[in-house]
Amino acid sequence: MLDNKKIGSVMIVGGGVTGMQSALDLADAGYYVYLVEKSGAIGGAMAQLDKTFPTNDCSM
């Protein structure tokens, strides 16, 4: 059915690690992504962490 045509774009609500991973995977697979973030920059809670287990990598 023509009127059932699907739109090849996706909206991701939330720009933390989860949303960013979703956005990257979808964009890389050929979908147009709108990443909507409430604050002024993406990164979410992980960007606040000093170091992360187990590599003690800086979260950035």
Binding site: K6, S9, V13, A29, Y32
Partner: protein
Amino acid sequence: MTLSEVTNISGEVGNFNVTVKEAPRYVDMDKCIACGACTEKCPKKVDSEYDAATGKRKAIYVKYSQAVPLKYQIDGSQCLRLTAMAKGKEKLPCGFCEQVCDAGAINYNDTEKTHEINVGAIVMAPGFEAYDPTNAKVWGFGVYPNVVTSLQFERYLSATGPTEGHLVRPSDGKKVKKVAFLQCIGSRDENTCGNGYCSSVCCMYAIKEAVIAKAHEPGLETSIFYMDMRTHGKEFDQYMERAKNDSGVNFIRCRVNSVEPQGANGDLRLSYVNNAGVQIEEYFDLVVLSVGLETPKHVLELAEMAGIEVTADRFAKTKDFTPVTTTRDGIFTAGAFAGPKDIPQAVVEGSAAAAAVADVLAPARNELTKEAVFPEERNIAGEEPKIGVFVCHCGSNIAGMVDVEAVEAYAKTLPGVAHVERNLFTCSQDAQEGLAVRIKELGLNRVAIAACTPRTHEPLFRETLKSAGLNQYLVEMANIRNHNSWVHDSKEIATKKACDLVRMAVAKVTFSASLAPISVPITQTALVIGGGVAGMTSALNLAEQGFVVTLVEKSAKLGGNALKLDHTWSGEEVAPQVAKLIDQVNWNEKITVFTETEVSAAEGFVGNFKTTLKGKDGVETVIEHGAGVVAVGADAYQPTEYGYGEIAGVVNGIDFDSADKAGKKNFVFIQCVGSREEGHMYCSKVCCTHSVQSAIALKKEDPSRNVYILYRDMRTYAQREKLYREARSLGVMFINYEIHGKPQVTKNGDVIDVQVIDHVLHRPVIIKADMVVLASGIRPKSDFKTLSQMYKISLDGDGFFQEAHAKLRPVDFATDGMFVAGMAHYPKPLEESVAQALAASARAATLLSKLEVTLDAIKAQVDSSKCDGCALCVDVCPYHAISLLEVKATAEGAAPTKVIDVNKAKCKGCGLCQATCPKEGVAVAGFTLQQLSSQVSAALAI
């Protein structure tokens, strides 16, 4: 889209209309170059959200220094001018930021915008917020300054935090000597905050913070007060053991009910019962509240508006076989909104949601994405170098410390330089356009940019070159900011060094050549190894996305470990769902299933694998595939302890599900059988929940039964906690035991005696049981090693498959094109296996959806006239990208010669081969010996 919120969703799956409200930023994103002059001048200080109110920011600010987009914003509720404007005042104060902004980016008249966006699907990943303990009062948060939350403590530990990583008390700046962590603040606590669930992450982050704090402050005493240590993640238990034994973190099993001040000096007093049962009063400098995760109010409103249901614990409602699908068709969820979880699981779900979306939208793939089109590339071979040098002021970042005019004048004197110009910001859009115009007008064939770091800006300049018809590798950057203006305080020296750096860049780029892009074709099919729930889910999703899949199962039947399960933790029946999955897999025309078949050999690399399958009958089939998913499951541990197999009535958890319990009254469950002990220092993650579920069923069937669970730490994590609560309310008895005091199981006539040391009574008790259920753990399979060698994918210390990065690449292998899902990676419950399987499909699809992979052209190139096949480079290559070829002699009778061959798909351009080669027979493109020696000579020619 930042500063944006979804306010309305209409339409249906495949075609939604979403209204997005974008708040004003008051800073023009196209103009702001994040120089920071505005923040310096801004007179208004506010608590920083990023620093969890431990530090200050200004009213015009950037969230943190590495923010993306790195663009400033004005907080309209705090800015002196904007608040005055809002009140309609005539005489407006301040305005400093506008005055100092060289880029002219400030716009006080910016307004809210509304966007209507048409999309096929939506993913809700709005995250969590940390529990705010202010209103709970009992812990003194907000009253005693030395009581902080774990998030604040994280900021104190951070080099970018308010104390630059120095551990001092907020009250008096005194060095912290003794810190207490209180667990389950805002979690597992229905009375104080109504959050009955476990937040899943706090035990692990508290240990991490304690260990890091001890590393910051040698001699620091750290104590963690907990009910159950829930370190159920991969390698978490090992970390806890190291924290205990090597770092000396104290663990005290006691929930502390209140924090009291000790005198007026800021010290804090905790009363608790220690591990020996003695009432203790102890003083601490600092108390850290390990706050839990909860769904913010605005997210609950968003969920209501979107028409998606939430659970009693206020997380998005999903099902175990569809863990990222919400109750509304076409809307998916992932991350902490779908239940409290750690970073790896959140990342897994992010990918899983992508797979679930792709399943729905596959017909519309590539319809809305655009490939950038570039003009035809100019051939510059044989041309004399005509180098354009662009010197960036970076506002005052560079120009403030470097005499840029002197650098410009100097650059003009360098050989090969045809044009020099200065820009306020070379990276700004207008400067980029100017750069492209100069390349075309003046016929420049090389470009040197004297500005900042190639790490962040080289891709931009490469794109600009491409847009001007020049090969993207003909640009070189001289970092006169990070390496120069930012670190020197003498203008004379900084200017001299800037000239040196420009001279070196020009010397190198003089010998740069156009490099052809390298691409490798991709076989757009996948191989999934393992026919359990993870393997089938992954295969099915890839097939629904349109890819041809081969699914290999070692046994005669699809279904794997799930065939032995009755219910998931949330009570969903497993058998019908597995039967449905098997059906879907068998009927899907894009999936070919091989049962009673094993992988016998594998070769190749990303996009181009060749795997040999061997059936039970010995017949071999060779499959060519672009990606592979390893979902081979794991084994149940067969106990050798507690009389298993010797005493009738001692069974394992799975056997118990189908055992005859009629007429039996007394049941004892023993947890951690074969888990969390020497040689197997990991949590099997599913056994606590399974035992609790069995115990609930026993009590519900006959409340007069006596059911005991002997445990080390009850790990009913996240929303499973409600099962633990239910079991206790039904009268299931929970008795804690320690690893050094394991229960003793002996046969005593018709009954089984189970002796355990009761930690409340502090003496041994004997329970007479009709049945003893051993919650036996999960073990890696014996054939993991063979598979790991065939595909060059590694195993971790416990023998499970090792992902590429514990946090950020939890389903990828370090070997490109290979992915892992399910229990092969680590023990996990069904819904986590499904999520990881979907994630593996999403990751594989990013590869398979392309006809070829384009690789960076910075690769090792062989000069066959110089290479004599000595093979020294073969051994040093860390990527196994170099092989030795034998070339047939051209003249008759002559011996065959040897030469190396570089696999461009495997080469990462690190240059180890070039450094090792004694004959200049191999060089990395873009870093040839000629380029490097020219650059070094330029550096020395002072």
